[in-house]
Amino acid sequence: MMKTVELNKKQTAIVQALEPQFKKAGIVYRLWVGLLLALILFGAYGLYKQIAIGHVVTGMRDNVVWGYYIANFIYFIGVSYGAAMLAAILYYFKVPWGRPIIRISALVAFITGIIGPVFILLCIGRFDRLHYLFIHARVQSPITWDVMVISTYLVGITVFAYLLLVKDFAILRDSPLLELPSWRRKLYSALALRYKGTEEQENQIDHSTKSMAFIMVPKVILAFAVLSWIFGMSLRPGWHSTIFGPAYVISSVATGIALIIGVMWVYRKLFGLDEYLTDQHFRKMALILLVLVAAFGYFTFSEYITSWYSSGKWEAAVTAKLLDFDEFGWAFHLANLFGIIIPIIVIAFPRLRTPNNLALISLLLVVAVWVRRYLTVVPPLETPLLPVQDARPEFLHYSATWVEWALVLAGAATFFIFFTLIPKLINVIPISVYEKENK
């Protein structure tokens, strides 16, 4: 007799709660997926134009050589690192309340980790020469470091997210509670890697997952550091600062957590998961967010007060543009208001700390940090050491074209479509982690 994975009461309840998700989708769901697909196709059309005609179809020109793409790249990859760090820490330290959140965290990390690097590729002028990064690699270049850390990170997060799933795939394969077409059972069977829940298998999987969680933390810190050094190593004010790395780490982890709160809120609302994603979970996540956002606010203040107070002309010129309401002032101040000040106020008062409020500030923060990423990339490039003195407006000020918008929206749509399709395929609340309950 083959051994199958058996479920306890709590696990059975989760399977029953998630069961409707595995069924055929309704019309609204299909329309939503159709809309997202349309956005992705529109982005693909923009990409086709960019490849066929050249980067001239973007708003980037000789002064501002990096724009939406790089902003999106550092945004998504930062969120990915942040979510990966949270998942790894929650798993490694066996944080009791973290159990239902690890799955969503790992998925956010994995999906944003795939979307992010696509955007750095979009910024490369010659797709056909990408392999030169390997065959002609120069170890002195921070880009080579980044190629190394991102590729190893992607392997790491894929393995980690998958290891977290193996036991659940076995449950989905064996569960008599789910009515699944045979191809789905076969798929789960393949993905479960013949996991039968024997003691030896369980020890192996737990040990490997724990090792991966342990590896992921320094891996993520290294990846954060290298990415921030791409900017920090340059001579440009606004980039060439020691606090650039820490501020980037802190804000990215905060954004990752905000995004996880957002996904938790949507899943809870849509699938009625109040029992597993409780108000308490939201509050715990919010308190981590509070610490990170406060640190981000402090780093931001420290960064700009020093350059504003001192008299270095070049650096002051960048800061002045961020504060000037005719330049980037509105974007900068609103991003700080919605990304730092309002989240701190809402989380600081227990009465305001409701899941709905937290979801709202998470949404604000996710957008505000994107704006801050844009303000990291563009104003320093618009402020070269020598005067620009060019007749062409696009050489003075960056302004994204429809191609860039299309691809950025396609990036967001990719994120949404993954999170729309995933609950159809896998359980968003981990089941196996509750195996010790009621035993």
Binding site: G54, V56, V65, R126, L133, I230, R236, P387, Q389
Partner: protein
């Protein structure tokens, strides 16, 4: 050693003299091609025929319409293009007192490298160091830094530093990540955002980092100090095109620079005229030295006044 350096110095001077001849010839060619621009800058009236000195020493009169830019390139191997001209250390000195923004250097450069009007490797900026100081024109080439931030960051060895001091770009290697463009504090590099737009016959030109021809879409390019000319002992086109002789080009090993008609000891020139390098504090060690704009041959404002209103607007922020 002394004999050989003496020889090469004489050789260089001889070649410098050839440069003068070429300069005179080149100038005629360029004044024809850029006649529209000439009017803009108050040049003499143009006529239909010009006297031209042929390479074999004959003075002939030809119709302007028949003039063609003849630019010959000495083809070298890829390895030679990467290592540089043996024994040389190219250097440039720009006399800011002599720059009147005639922009002949720019048009000569555009012509030489088959660049469209919207892609300048050489630019002339209007500078004003402080509120109380006078404005001056500032021709800016690539500085071919000895500690080049662009070369440091290149992930694929597409931009590189040669033994003769030049920083060049191999546009068949460049992946177009533009990291070098963000790294260069002098905004020297330009990108081929679309098709390079050079004449059709240039598409089949022999490809080398020494010429950056044919240009390639999605890659970076920049001022290269015309290394193919230097290899033949000729001066870069910006040097020969300047009507005021503001550019001096030469070899630091030989300690000599020339603008085609005047030749100086490099070390004496930069010492006596208190030369400086732009952005010295950045530690990039540029190979271009500027002579301060002392006793300018023409105030910067005069060139501004002659400009059409539209163009003058570009410089308003600086004044």
């Amino acid at each position: 050693m002394s004999e050989s350096s003496e020889n090469s110095r004489r050789d260089f001077l001889k070649k410098g003299a050839l440069g003068v001849t070429l300069a005179a010839w080149g100038q005629l060619v360029f004044s024809c091609s850029s006649s529209g621009e000439g009017h803009e800058h108050g040049m003499a009236e143009q006529t239909d025929t010009v006297k031209v000195l042929t390479p074999d020493g004959q003075l002939v009169e030809v119709n302007r319409a028949h003039l063609m830019h003849a630019h010959h390139t000495q083809e070298v191997s890829y390895e030679e293009a990467r290592t540089g001209v043996p024994g040389k250390k190219f250097v440039m000195v720009i006399d800011l007192a002599r720059c009147t923004n005639a922009r002949r250097c720019v048009s000569a450069c555009q012509k030489m490298h088959h660049l469209p009007p919207d892609r300048e490797w050489l630019t002339v900026k209007l500078m004003k160091d402080s509120k109380t100081s006078e404005p001056y024109w500032f021709p800016k080439t690539c500085f071919h830094c000895d500690n080049p931030p662009c070369v440091k960051v290149c992930p694929v060895d597409a931009t590189f530093k040669r033994q003769d001091g030049l920083v060049l770009v191999d546009n068949t290697r460049c992946i177009g990540c533009k990291f070098c463009m963000t790294a260069c504090p002098y905004s020297t590099r330009v990108f081929n955002w679309g098709e390079p737009g050079e004449p059709a016959d240039m598409k089949t030109h022999y490809s080398s980092p020494e010429t950056s021809i044919p240009g390639q879409v999605g890659t970076v390019e920049k001022c290269d100090f015309c290394p193919d000319m230097a290899r033949m002992g000729k001066l870069p086109d910006c040097v020969t095109a300047c009507p005021n002789g503001a550019f001096f080009f030469g070899d630091q090993n030989e300690d000599i620079v020339t603008n085609g008609s005047e030749t100086f000891r490099f070390s004496e020139l930069i010492a006596e005229r208190a030369a400086y390098r732009y952005g010295e504090e950045l530690g990039t060690e540029p190979r271009v030295y500027y002579l301060p704009p002392v006793d300018r041959i023409r105030p910067a404002e005069e060139a501004l006044e002659e400009m059409p209103e539209e163009r003058r607007k570009l410089y308003e922020d600086q004044l």
